[in-house]
Amino acid sequence: MNDVLVGRALAKRFGQTVALGGVDIAVRAGEAVAIMGPSGSGKSTLLHCLAGIMKPDGGEVHLLGQRIDALGERRRSALRRTRFGFVFQFGQLLPELPAEENVALPLMLGGVPRAQAVRQAREWFGPLGLQSMESRRPGELSGGQAQRVAIARALVSKPAVVFADEPTGALDQQTGQETMRLLVEATKHNGACLIVVTHDPNVAAWCDRTVEVRDGRLLTSGALA
C-alpha cells in the first residue's frame, strides 16, 4: 500500500499505431524499476505518461494517491519541476551554464534564492565524485561527469520519483556502470524511487526489478506488486 506512483490501464495511440495498449504498473517507495523493451515497444511512451509529460488516451496515473493525468499542462509542469527528477541520455544540461548553476536551476525555478540554491547544489558535487567541477561548463566535462551533474540536478529538489531515459546510452560500458551505481545509490539515499528506461540488461541489473514492454503491453508479471 506504499505505492508512490501507479499507472492503471494506460493506453496511448499515435494515429493507427498503438503505443500503449492498457498497461498497469506500480512503483513502491525507494524502489528502482527498469522498463526494458526493443525500439518502438512503447517503453518511452510509458515513461512520458507516468511523468506527466504526455496525457494518456485512456487509464489513470496516481502520484502518492493523487490523480495527475487529468491535471492541466501548467499543473503537470509544476509537478514535474517539484516532485519528479529527470536524467536523459544527453543534452539536458544547459551548455552556457557552469555545472553548479545547472544543478541549482530547478531550485531557483522553485523560488529558492540564487546564493542558497548554488550552496545546496554544491553539496551534491562531493558525493557524486565531482569535486572541483563546480564551475566547469558541460562542454568541458566528460560524458560520465556530465551525467553525474545531471543526476545531481535530478535529485537536488528532493523529488519523489526520478525518471531516467537511457541514462547510459551515450557512455562506455565502464562509465555506464559507474553512472548507474551512483544513480541508484543517490536516488535511494534520497528516499526517491527510480524508473529507468533502457534496452541494456546490464543497466537493468542495477534495479530492484524489471518490467518488459513489447508492442505496448507488459510481458512480465511485475507490473503490479
Partner: protein, 646 residues
C-alpha cells in the same frame, strides 16, 4: 559529388530544416530588395542630375551658338522653372533635350505637368503667362514627372536675354552664351547626390550585417551535421564546399526573390516625393550591370559569411559537437572604435564627401565590431547580478555567444546610430511667411522704380486685382487685399509677368520655398533611411529569434519537459534581447550623435529629438514584436515530448 550531397542534405532537411532554409531565403530576399533600393537611390539622383544639367549652362570659351538664361516663376505653392533660349545670329544650335528643335523666338514649350495645370486653372491665373504653347517637353528635359518647366524662345537681343539678372542661383541663372546645351549638373543636384551617397552607406551597412546573419542561420542549422561529416572523415575543403554551396543556392534564390520584390515595389517607391516631385520609375531601376553586381555580390557575401561561421567546425570537428566555450572577445575591438571616434572629427574637417562617407562607414563598422565585446560584458554583469532563473539564463547566454546576441540587436543599434546621426543633423525650420496680406515684390531696373510702379498699377487694375503698389527703394511692392487668396495672388502674378524682363514677382513665401523644400527633402530622406533601417532591424531580430529557437530546440525541449515553465524560457529570451538592446541602442545613438556634431549647423532641434525618440520607441516595439512572433515556434518545438538530436 559535393553538389549532389549538398542538394540531398538541403532537400532532406525535414520540416525544420526547410523552415530554416525558408527563413534564410526570406532574410536574403529582404536584404537584396533593400540593398537594391539603397543602390538605386544613388543612380536615381544621378539620373536626375544628368537630366537637369542642360538648365545649368557652361559659359562658352569659344564657338558660342546660343544664349541661355533661367529664372523661377511660381503658381500656387509650386515653382516653375522658366528657361529662356535664344540662338545667336546665323547659328543653328542643337535642340535641348526633350525638344524636337531649338525654339524659335516667341515659341513656348511646357512640361506635361505645367501644360495640364495651365488647362486646369483659369487662364488669367497661369496660361496667359505662357500663351499659345507650341508643344510639350519630353521626359528627357525633366528632373521628375511632376516638374513645372517652361522653355521660351527669344531673340538674342531681347531684353530678357540682355537685361541684368540676379546671380543668386536660387533666383535662376543670368544669360550665358553657350557652345552647346549639354550643361553640367547643378550645385544642388550635386548636393543631393552626396546626401544620397551618405544615406546609401547608412542603409547598406546594416544590410550587410543582416546578410551575414542570414548566412549564419544556414550554418547554425547545419553545424552539428557538418561536424558529424568532419568526424566521419570529410575534408575541410569538402565541408566548406558543401556549406558554401548550400548557402549560395539558398541565397541566390533569395536574391532573385528580393530583386523581383524590389521591381514590384518600384511603382510605390516612385511615389516618394523628393525635390518637389515623384520619380520616373525608370530612374529607380538600377542598370543591368548594377543589378547583376548585386545578384552576384549578395550570394557571394552570404557564402563568405557561411565560411566564417564554419571556421570552428573546420578547425576542430569536436568544437561544435561538444559546444566548447568560444574564445573570449578581444578588447582591441573596442580600441578600434575608440580610435576611429578620436580621429573622426579630423577626418571630416574640410575634406571631400567621399572621405566623410568612408569615415562614416568606418565608424559604423567599428560600432559593429565593438558590439559583441560590449554584449559579452553586459552578459557577465547580468549573470553576476541575476537573482531570477530567467536573468541568469539570459546573462549566461549572452556570455556564451555574444555574436549571436549582437546579431539580434545590431540592426536596431545601428539604426540608433543612423537616428543619432540624422536626428541632430536636421536643419532648423525655415521661417515661413510672416502672415498678414500677401505682397508681391519685383526688383525694378535701377532708376525705373516709379515707372514700373505705374505700369504695375495699370496692369493690376486691368486684371481686376485690388492692390496697393508702391516702391521701396528699387523694389516694387504690390500689397494685395487682406482677403486675397492664392487665386488672387496668381492673377496678380500673371498680370505682372514680363513687367521687368527676366524677373519674376515673388511673395515672401516664394523666396523661402527652396529652403522649405530642402528641409522637407531632408526629413523625407531621414524617414526613408530610418524606415529601411527599421525594416532590416526588425526582420533581422525576428529571423534571429526564430533561428535561435531552432538551434536550441533540444535544450528548450528538455528544460520544458523537466517542468520549466514556458514563461521562464520566454522571459529569458526577452531579457537576452532587451538588456543588450537597451545598452547598445543607447550607446549607438550617442556615437551617431557624436559623429553628427562636426556637421551640425544650428543646435539640436525639436523635430530631430522627436525623430530620435520615435526611433527608440519604434525600435524597441519592433524588436519585442518580432521576438514575440517566435513564441509559437518555441511552443511548438518544446511541445515535442521526446526531443532528440538531429
Amino acid at each position: 559529388m559535393n553538389l549532389d550531397l549538398t542538394w540531398r542534405l538541403l532537400k532532406g532537411g525535414g520540416r525544420r530544416g526547410l523552415l530554416g532554409a525558408w527563413l534564410t531565403l526570406g532574410a536574403v530576399a529582404v536584404a537584396t530588395a533593400l540593398l537594391l533600393f539603397a543602390v538605386a537611390a544613388n543612380s536615381a539622383f544621378q539620373a536626375r542630375a544628368e537630366r537637369g544639367a542642360w538648365r545649368n549652362p557652361v559659359p562658352a570659351t569659344s564657338g558660342a551658338v546660343a544664349i541661355e538664361a533661367s529664372r523661377f516663376d511660381f503658381v500656387r505653392d509650386r515653382a516653375i522653372t522658366v528657361v529662356d533660349l535664344a540662338a545667336l545670329d546665323g547659328r543653328t544650335p542643337e535642340p535641348p533635350p526633350g525638344l524636337p528643335r531649338f525654339p524659335a523666338p516667341g515659341e513656348v514649350w511646357l512640361s506635361p505637368a505645367l501644360a495640364e495645370l495651365a488647362r486646369e486653372l483659369p487662364a488669367d491665373q497661369l496660361a496667359e503667362r505662357y500663351p499659345a504653347p507650341k508643344g510639350v517637353l519630353g521626359d528627357e528635359a525633366l528632373i521628375h514627372p511632376d516638374e513645372l518647366v517652361a522653355v521660351v524662345g527669344r531673340q538674342a537681343d531681347a531684353p530678357e536675354m540682355t537685361a541684368a539678372r540676379s546671380d543668386d542661383w536660387l533666383l535662376g541663372k543670368p544669360p550665358v552664351k553657350v557652345a552647346s546645351l549639354a550643361g553640367t549638373p547643378s550645385e544642388d543636384a550635386q548636393a543631393y547626390r552626396m546626401l544620397s551617397l551618405v544615406a546609401s552607406v547608412l542603409m547598406a551597412v546594416p544590410l550587410l550585417v543582416f546578410g551575414g546573419a542570414a548566412a549564419r542561420l544556414t550554418v547554425a542549422r547545419r553545424d552539428q551535421r557538418l561536424a558529424a561529416l568532419r568526424l566521419v572523415g570529410a575534408t575541410p575543403g569538402q565541408v566548406v564546399g558543401m556549406t558554401v554551396t548550400e548557402a549560395v543556392i539558398v541565397a541566390l534564390a533569395g536574391a532573385l526573390a528580393g530583386a523581383a520584390a524590389f521591381a514590384l515595389a518600384v511603382p510605390l517607391l516612385a511615389g516618394i516625393e523628393m525635390q518637389g516631385g515623384r520619380w520616373f520609375a525608370a530612374d529607380l531601376f538600377p542598370g543591368p550591370l548594377v543589378l547583376a553586381g548585386v545578384l552576384v555580390a549578395v550570394p557571394l557575401l552570404v557564402g563568405l559569411s557561411a565560411v566564417a561561421g564554419l571556421r570552428r567546425v573546420v578547425v576542430s570537428p569536436l568544437g561544435v559537437a561538444k559546444r566548447e566555450t568560444p574564445p573570449a572577445m578581444r578588447f582591441v575591438r573596442v580600441l578600434a572604435l575608440l580610435a576611429v571616434l578620436a580621429v573622426f572629427p579630423m577626418l571630416t574637417r574640410g575634406t571631400s564627401v567621399s572621405i566623410i562617407a568612408a569615415a562614416l562607414a568606418l565608424a559604423f563598422l567599428c560600432v559593429n565590431l565593438a558590439g559583441p565585446w560590449v554584449v559579452g560584458l553586459i552578459g557577465r554583469i547580468t549573470a553576476g547580478t541575476a537573482r531570477s532563473p530567467a536573468r541568469l539564463l539570459a546573462g549566461r547566454r549572452l556570455v556564451d555567444d555574444p555574436r549571436s546576441a549582437w546579431r539580434t540587436v545590431s540592426g536596431v543599434a545601428l539604426t540608433g546610430f543612423v537616428a543619432g546621426f540624422l536626428g541632430l543633423l536636421s536643419p532648423a525650420t525655415f521661417d515661413q511667411d510672416a502672415g498678414g496680406p500677401p505682397q508681391l515684390r519685383i526688383t525694378a531696373p535701377a532708376g525705373q522704380a516709379d515707372q514700373v510702379v505705374r505700369q504695375a498699377r495699370e496692369r493690376l487694375r486691368e486684371a481686376g486685382v485690388t492692390a496697393e503698389v508702391k516702391p521701396v527703394k528699387d523694389v516694387v511692392v504690390a500689397a494685395l487685399g487682406s482677403s486675397a487668396g492664392e487665386a488672387e495672388v496668381d492673377r496678380a502674378r500673371t498680370a505682372l509677368t514680363g513687367l521687368v524682363p527676366g524677373r519674376t514677382p515673388t511673395t515672401k513665401a516664394d523666396d523661402g520655398r527652396f529652403g522649405v523644400e530642402i528641409l522637407a527633402d531632408v526629413r523625407v530622406g531621414t524617414i526613408v533611411v530610418l524606415s529601411v533601417s527599421f525594416l532590416v532591424a526588425i526582420a533581422s531580430s525576428g529571423i534571429t529569434a526564430m533561428s535561435s529557437v531552432l538551434d536550441r530546440r533540444q535544450t528548450y525541449g528538455l528544460l520544458r519537459l523537466a517542468g520549466t515553465p514556458l514563461s521562464v524560457l520566454d522571459r529569458a529570451r526577452r531579457s537576452e534581447t532587451l538588456i543588450p538592446l537597451a545598452v547598445m541602442g543607447g550607446g549607438a545613438i550617442l556615437v551617431g550623435a557624436f559623429c553628427a556634431m562636426p556637421f551640425m549647423i544650428g543646435g539640436v532641434n525639436a523635430t530631430g529629438a522627436i525623430t530620435l525618440g520615435a526611433c527608440v520607441v519604434a525600435g524597441f516595439a519592433g524588436v519585442i514584436g518580432a521576438g514575440a512572433l517566435s513564441r509559437p515556434l518555441l511552443r511548438s518545438v518544446t511541445a515535442d515530448p521526446a526531443p532528440r538530436p538531429d
